[in-house]
Amino acid sequence: MAGHTRTQRTFSEYLIERLIQTTGILVILFLALIFLFLLREGGATFFEVSLRDLLQTRWYPNEEYFGILPLVLGSLLVTLGAAAISLPLGLLTAVFIAEVAPRWMREVLKPLIEVLAGIPSVVLGFLGMVVVSPLVREYLGAPTGLTALSGSLMLGYMALPTIVSVAEDALDAVPKSYRDAALALGATHWQTIWRMTVPAARSGILTAVMLGVGRAIGETMAVMMVTGNAARMPLTLNSLLMPVRTMTATIAAEMGEVAQGSTHYHVLFAIGLVLFLVTFIINLVAAWAIFRQGRRYGRLLS
């Protein structure tokens, strides 16, 4: 069975290859569609509300006050707080797992941290409400436990699995010969870690930091459940112990109640567009750090 089966085969090979390639292009299309539909539903904002009104300090949509500054600052405050918690903890833990822990301990710690990544954010939010915020109220003297700090604590922990696993991967990828050279020159294990291994892994660690922060900005449910959702400007020092409202929580809480096509509806989509662009830039930086290193991106996403 020579001749025609063979051409048939080549033809179906060609077809399959094209088909598979098309799915690859589909991925790009999906990202473009997200952007387009946010723009389609949110773009009208910029005709209905002036930029000056958007950049006001009052968010009170029922009376047509669409100042998004308190929401932007709310997201910023909670995210910075989360970063302050999760970056040191995450990086130290990654160093411990990659460089110090014996093999059996590594085999226990890694799946445990994966478990944290698997806990749904609504479950963490629930725990934040019933466990964390009473503690914040009791021991830190906040009038209510639903504060920016509670949000930062939850977000900090939620960002940890990403930071730990990506940073640990980066440390793991540093060639053993680097460490051996440092040790042979008389450095202690501790000196080798901080003067050789960590600097050598820095672009992977930067990726870890960016992805962790990106995850924190975009988190929705846990934040909405523990931050109290008061749209106020968090400008004073004690704002950490006051309720605050993030961009993500605003969308999640209000989209269900607005009339489709109203100004409020458009503004919520515009906030989504801002979130999309911010995380897009953060991910570009993260991706750039990986590509520059020529490393595979697999583990970053899971």
Binding site: S121, T220, T248, A287, L300, L301
Partner: protein
């Protein structure tokens, strides 16, 4: 301070940080387990919610979550694996494949609530699917793609090059090689990735808020164009939106959701370690 002493202190600090990270995970999971266990009963799992959700069970929410997870799998698994095959087996390092990789990384970073907005804009409104299981599954599927693609690609790449070379040298075409040689070898790894991706979809709330989730709907969905309750959204509703909600039911719901998701996680881990031990390369 001597170098050795400093090293000792340093390692202690690292161990301390790790403890601070890990201990709360164990405590929180244990806490839910202890508090939620008393609520769990056959009736709690299989009964409709009653009296404004303050009594009865979580059956429709559980069924809804299972349906949404299956729906997500139907759309995300074939596309995800196809993209992974393209990237691992066909694509060269061109600007197109770089662009695809960049898109995957960015898709993974899109906030879940933005997926919700996107699903509302595209599936619910533009394609007129309404708030429905179909719209919710499609939204979750796109959100799940990056995880499936990246883990499946890793699994495909882990198959030794010699397998492909032997198959091709015996006269098999590239697709025959992929389908009969590479895919079967990579299957456990792919399966692990699929389960991890679906695990995330099952636990998500924000993407289903505006695309499928029903606040209170004490019956099972009749078609894919129906709304449905879902466990994550149900937990959100009963812990924030319903005054006078018995804590016991909240903990019970949290426990069922956690058990659902973590058992998928455990399944993925078991598959991974089982096949890693068995494989011969």
């Amino acid at each position: 301070m001597s170098r050795q002493l400093r090293q000792q202190l340093g390692f202690t600090l690292l161990g301390l940080a790790t403890t601070i990270v890990v201990l709360p995970i164990l405590l929180l999971v244990g806490y839910i387990l202890v508090q939620g266990a008393s609520a769990i009963s056959w009736e709690f799992i299989t009964a409709m919610p009653r009296e404004g959700m303050r009594a009865g069970g979580i059956w429709p929410a559980l069924v809804g979550t299972v349906l949404l997870t299956l729906g997500t799998a139907i759309f995300a698994v074939p596309v995800g694996i196809a993209v992974a095959i393209y990237l691992a087996e066909y694509a060269h390092d061109t600007s197109l494949t770089r662009l695809i990789r960049l898109a995957i990384i960015n898709l993974a970073g899109v906030p879940s609530v933005v997926y919700g907005l996107f699903g509302l804009g595209l599936f619910v409104i533009f394609l007129r699917l309404g708030t429905s299981i179909l719209a919710g599954s499609l939204t979750l599927a796109i959100m799940t793609l990056p995880v499936i693609i990246s883990t499946a690609e890793e699994a495909l790449r882990a198959v030794p090059q010699s397998f492909r070379i032997v198959s091709l040298s015996l006269g098999a075409t590239q697709w025959q090689t992929v389908r009969r040689v590479v895919l079967p070898q990579a299957l456990p790894g792919i399966l692990t990735g699929v389960i991890l991706g679906l695990e995330r979809a099952a636990g998500e709330t924000a993407p289903i808020l505006f695309t499928v989730a029903a606040f209170f709907l004490p019956r099972l969905p009749r078609s894919i164009f129906d709304q449905t309750m879902a466990l994550p959204y149900h937990l959100f509703v009963i812990s924030t939106q319903v005054p006078g909600m018995p804590l016991r039911i909240q903990y019970g719901t949290a426990l069922v959701l956690l058990a659902f998701v973590l058992s998928m996680n455990a399944l993925a881990t078991v598959i991974r370690s089982h096949f890693r031990r068995r494989r011969q390369w």
